[in-house]
Amino acid sequence: MEAFFGYGFFQRALLAGLFVAIACAILGLFLILRRDAMIGHGLAHVTFGGVALGLFLNVLPLGAALVVAILASLAIMKLKEKAGLHGDTAIGIFSSVGMALGIALATLAGRFNADLLSYLFGDILAIDALEVGLSTVLAAVVVVVILANYRRLMYLTFDREAAKASGVKTAHLDVLLAVLTSVTVVLGMKVVGILLVTALLVIPAAAGLLLAASFKQALLFSSLVASVSVVFGLLAAFYLDLPASATVVLFSFLLFGAFYLLRRRSHP
């Protein structure tokens, strides 16, 4: 096993994977409690359009995806506010438009190929040094920003009106969360792919919620599930010669199942 940890590509995958998965888990906790768990799914589809745009314009796909995802998340938020649409409806509109845009652009560019497919399914073991650096730094920034604002975000999530009456700038925090979610989804895309990024946002956080008796515990347990899933998921990918995206997600679900059984025992 030690041999794998010696490979440069494995170290890179592990580092980026851990940071991104923890960012996803912590952010996912807030999204779930805001009943906004599917925003990740929607933004991931929009991100597909962003990647295609990047390939079409011949710029860094990750950068193009970031810009498109941030714009889309803000648009979804505005549409909910101004048009009185339910969140899932706004997400439904944007995710399908993003996907359609992606298909059209990729076809126009004549590059509907392996490049784009790698974004759909993720390929963390093929991640290059620049992307590792970028992902790790951005994921670390997401974690630090959330932890620095954690009490305000918790207040906003628990009781928006009281938070506002306490002088919490709720509208600013909404924008902050939208931007952080976009960044995290784009990063998650590199780890598990567009189709599975919801798993990183939802499963570790949901597992953490099963056993947590406090918000701090929920943050801790979710991060723990995310980290263990990445480490064991990557190892399983090597041993079983499977895509890492699949094994990471399946491991997180195994842990979710274990947490569920533990909860059943403690709350019969």
């Binding site: 009490r151 918790m154 009281a162 938070a163 009456a165 002088g167 008796a213 406090s214 918000f215």
Partner: protein, 250 residues
């Protein structure tokens, strides 16, 4: 009225929601030390009035002064505690402990980086103790009864040692015995801690026992004055006769 004694001044306040008038030309003031009830039937604009005072809604006309400052410019939110109407509808799966729920309000007002963790813990413990919930501090909020949750929400509202406390229908869904204890607790906060209390309710029974001032609302302010005067007023008789107000005589 002496400026320093006046905590809230509402001047010619009107509010429309989707061009339907909710409040019209409401003017009154609340003095330091008051225990005021805002009374009125359903849909009379009580909750809207509180939200306008707290700056959660913007008035169509008129203005609100909080501690002498226009509500738009008011920054000292830690001096005001608020228990919203929907406090009884708490997400049972929210993972926060009672202590964490109370600590949420420590974010109120300007940042206080000098305040250490120990000081914060002490403030939270004191607030929970005041509402008789010290023993439940580590219990997740979802695993407390409705009445206990309500007390935690009140602890949150008083954790910053506010000068003014707003409570919007705080005993909705709480049994009569618990309600009695609850209002005794509010009475102590008003008497001993000198916290000015503004209570939104449609229960006249409570008004009888604890309240010193009454503002009676039905889109317009139909009465504003002392509790004794209210009981003699036309507004009181009309409301009682029309069955708009509930009366649990304690």
């Amino acid at each position: 009225m002496n400026e320093a004694r006046e905590l809230i001044r509402v001047e010619g306040l009107s509010f429309q929601y989707d061009s339907i008038p909710v409040l019209e030309e409401v003017s009154f003031s609340i003095a330091r030390g008051d225990f005021m009830a805002i009374l009125g039937p359903n849909g009379s604009g009580k909750t809207t009035l509180v939200k306008l005072i707290l700056g959660l809604f913007r008035p169509t006309r008129g203005r609100v002064l909080l501690m002498g400052k226009s509500v738009e410019d008011f920054k000292a939110w830690s001096k005001i505690g608020y228990v919203p109407q929907k406090a009884t509808h708490i997400d049972p799966f929210f993972p926060a402990s009672a202590r964490e729920v109370v600590a949420m309000a420590l974010t109120a007002g300007p940042p206080k980086p000098w305040r250490g963790k120990r000081e914060e813990d002490e403030a939270v413990a004191l607030a929970l103790d005041r509402v008789g919930m010290a023993a439940f501090r580590n219990r997740p909020i979802g695993r407390l009864s409705g009445g206990q949750q309500q007390r935690v929400i009140i602890a949150r509202a008083i954790v910053n040692a506010p000068e003014l406390l707003f409570l919007d229908e705080p005993t909705a869904g709480v049994d009569a015995a618990t309600q009695g204890l609850f209002y005794d607790m509010l009475h102590r906060l008003n008497e001993d801690q000198r916290i000015t209390i503004v209570l939104v309710t449609h229960d006249i029974g409570i008004v009888n026992k604890h309240v010193t001032k009454v503002a009676c609302l039905n889109q317009r302010l139909v009465f504003h004055g002392s509790h004794a005067d209210f009981c003699q007023s036309e507004a009181f008789k009309t409301m009682l006769a029309s069955g708009h107000l509930v009366s649990h005589i304690h």
